[in-house]
Symmetry: C2
Subunit: 167 residues, 2 copies
């Protein structure tokens, strides 16, 4: 479960939707102000790191990226929590040591995850529309059990390139 620098780890798995930084910051600023919160330098930095990461990052990774020097751990967690509340960030629990955070799907588009069972790395992963449509269909099965479905989560678990190469 070690972690290199974010830059090292970004790798080739690109978003189908690379997110325009310009628009991104405008949108985020708007959402924060709508909640009478300020788009402070640290929040800006956190958003920038997440956008650059292109995959869910842990707090240590976010701090290591250090687009804002000397950001306190507690502040980073607080920023992330606030950004989650205004719908800019989403928390991703992969079940490993740290929680991970990514930009909200309203900013990056709907996607799923590839989770490495060796190092805990998580990459984005897009599936064909037809598959996505099939998922919608399943909501009916859930409803039959009395559940009111809001969303879904689909992960492929396995080994990332770095881990199945060496291990």
């Amino acid at each position: 479960m070690s972690e290199g620098t974010v830059d090292t780890m970004v790798g080739e798995a690109a978003h189908a939707d690379p997110v325009d930084l310009e628009d991104l910051h405008v949108t985020v600023g708007r959402r924060l102000r709508a909640a009478s919160m300020r788009y402070s330098r640290s929040r800006y930095s956190v958003v920038e790191v997440l956008a650059a990461g292109g995959r869910p990052l842990t707090l240590p990774e976010i701090l290591a990226a250090g687009h804002e020097q000397g950001l306190a751990q507690s502040s980073a967690y607080r920023n992330l929590g606030e950004l989650v509340e205004v719908g800019v960030v989403r928390r991703v629990e992969s079940g490993y040591d740290h929680s991970r955070f990514e930009l909200h799907e309203s900013l990056t588009g709907h996607h799923h995850h590839l989770v490495c069972i060796d190092c805990g790395r998580v990459d984005d992963f897009e599936v064909p529309d037809e598959f996505e449509a099939g998922i919608e269909g399943l909501a009916g099965v859930a409803r039959a059990q009395g559940f009111r479905v809001e969303s879904h989560r689909f992960d492929m678990l396995g080994r990332c390139p770095a881990c199945h190469g060496s291990a």
Copy 2:
């Protein structure tokens, strides 16, 4: 994130494969002995509670079911960890307060989960074979990103009957 007693919460979502208790304990005993471990009273109890639960349970829930009185929390965690190692139990991280534990799929059959975003309750959920087959197909997409796929995880998130009734 409150939790009632296990018996209260089992509800109607039944396994398609209700697991024969007789066979279950025989199999578990075999797997433990194969690792030169004993099928102690507390391990037996934990397995029984999980089988009765029919859905992933938290440690508090397992202790509350109390099929074995006065089982220490640390012992329960230790038992669960050992049972995971011999392939009898699987740990399910739902991303809420507690981890959850269920009998291994080799004992209950492959299934997915319905996760309540209000109370954290998790129920089992089976999908049509054709959907499951579609998932296999996706492994190819992941492989294209350099991932070696081992398994998958699919959850529907929403509100359980108890939560969308009251809230």
